[in-house]
Amino acid sequence: MVKINLRQMQVDQTGTIASVKADGELGRRIRDMGLVPGKEIKVQGRAPLYDPVSLRIMGFTLTLRNNEADHIQVEVSQER
């Protein structure tokens, strides 16, 4: 298992959120939508211009901008 930034994840890659380093409104919005440590996510796709990114979590789809994804560390298995 290695920790990488959510921005670096590939489409269809899965992982577990390790930490969320944002605070203030952004931090709160990210957490309110369920992006909290321990949750499994799967990158579902990217917008035509590669930003924002869309991901699956707890059975629904969420989007966030790359610079917002930067605050989220994800634990992924090493393959890929």
Binding site: L26, R31, D32, M33, V36, Q44, G45, R56, F60, L62
Partner: protein
Amino acid sequence: MSTAIALAGNPNSGKTTLFNELTGARQHVGNYPGVTVEKKQGTCITDTGAFDIVDLPGTYSLTAYSLEEVVARDFLVNERPAMIVNIVDASNLERNLYLSVQFMEMGIPVCIALNMMDVAKKRGIDINIDRLSELLGVPVVPTVARTGQGKKELLETVAARAKQGNRALKISYGLDIDTALDEMEAEIKAAGFLTKTYPARWVALKYLENDKQILELGAEENKEVATRLAGIVQRLTSHLAATQDAHPEGMIADQRYGFISGVLKQNVVRYAEDRNRLQQSDKIDKVLTNRFLGPIIMVGVLMGLYNFTFTYSVLPTEWLEGLFGWIGGMAEAALPEGLLKSLIISGIVDGVGGVLGFVPLIMFMFLGISFLEDSGYLARMAFMLDRVFRLFGLHGSSVMAFIVSGGIAGGCAVPGVMAARTLKSPKERLATLLTVPFMNCGAKLPVYALLVAAFFAENQARVMLILTLISWIGALLVARLLRSTVIKGEATPFVMELPPYRLPTIKGLLIHTWERTWQYMKKAGTVILGISIVLWAMMTFPGLDDTTLTQFEAKRSAVTDNVSPALLNEISAAEGDDGLSEAALAVKEDLLLIDGEEAQAALKNSVAGRIGVALEGISRLAGFDWRTNIALVGGFAAKEVVVSTLGTAYSLGEVDPEENTSLAQRLQSAPGWSPLTAFSLMIFTIFYAPCFVTVVCIARETGSWKWAGFSVVFNTALAFGLSVAVYQAGKLIL
């Protein structure tokens, strides 16, 4: 305690559908005091009695960061509803419960309507409802809002359990936070700090969450206690930072989700398949948001929306125009000549007609946009376009407002400004509202058509393309400018749900469309009528003095005295020019010429005319003489009025904006006019003050006349600056 029931839940949980199902047509929409957030209220009549239902704005949480959340929260604490009916999407249980937990922490009785049971079942999600109800300590009623299933049971439960006064839910946030919470709760209770309105532990929690609104209220209530509480928060914050590299606000959110997964793990929910497996909806997304196909389909959808709005609204708009034309005609025939007649026809009938003329447009626009919004496609558009619009400080969802306003030439800024409602980020929304009037709306087109026909007849298509590009580039750059000056600030987080695609319900679409349209007629309508009368007065008063009037009369007599009465009879009897003899035609022409001169003189002498003449000194810099100035003042009523007023100013009488050949010819030969003047005027037309209907809508949508005033002053200054630059640079080069 009121008997009202608050309906609350996440966006896309079926809340509005349930509200419509419960209240039917017995609902009305207003605003929460002082803010632009919609407040929907309705009555639900059952066998046992009636409930008042308030539909709270859909939110994911109850922070103080967004207006919707503050409004929902304030309603709950100030109005103390008898019960919160919390709509929870069963197919998205875990995240929906996050808001439920926050309701329960407030200590108001909660009843969960576990909605979309059918969707959950289809996805292989099996929920043990009794167990969930037992663990959370609140009633849970399964529903399917779209079909009305479970509605009866829900109402029975509400009737039985409302007002029973729940004990606030107390969840554990971990030892460190719990200890601090206990200590703060004791302080708060001892001092009676804010406890008149809020539960003590909830206030403590909000202090730990660094909640701006509660912190401000606390500082007003009792400085001393507030400082002590802040001290405890400070201590905990540094402790958490040192030991766990965490912040209380973050930890509280983490622990809430922890509490929820703890509950769900106790045999509450079973998934027959991987939750993150691709659903039908995700397969659709593979096509609709595909890197290549996605944008192409989106262009198609936008063109479709545009055609739908502007094609289908033509017929009802024509009916309305016909109706008001007929009323105007009746007034014309029935009333004696004079000011009263002019007021009724030009001020009131045209004003009311102006208000109602937009109604079909607004209806079709909202119907189209509601469909895109409710189906889930709007969120995908925002997703695909966000990268582009963010560059200019806007949001992916801004595109809708720009397109409707005339991003594809021929739209209308009135529904465009209203379309900005789909934007949830306040700063991006304001920047969008203020820049959409730069788009080339349908009313600006006759102005361009006139000038292009007169000066750029060979390059018609190219000039139109250039104008479209200029308006887009201008709007986006101004948005960027505004976002780095007057509407400065961080981008609102984009963190957004892509809801599953759903077929909207017809009932929902119709109710939604009607509400918006009615609001426009009621609120904007009265103001628009008032301003329309003021503008009429400006173009009419003070009128010509008696000496001048007599001079024109004398000129007329000079023409008529020399011809036989038979000829005069022939003229007044004939409709149009058909069948008139050559001699009669000549006389008629002379008379029309005098009428035109009189109208020109009256216009020049009016308030608007005097403004135009007074401004000539400055406007010369952009190449405009007093005639153009008056026309532009008139254009504040509606941009196409520029053409008809220009006609009057050139003594051609009223010029029909669609039939401008004579005026175009007149301009070609008029002194002071050149292609450069025409281009300068077109630039000015793109950017100057929006028509007052749009201005009124901006005031309504932003909730303040300040921004409406800003758009008038700023846009006009910008337009003037640009036209002067174009005109002066052009003079140097050419």
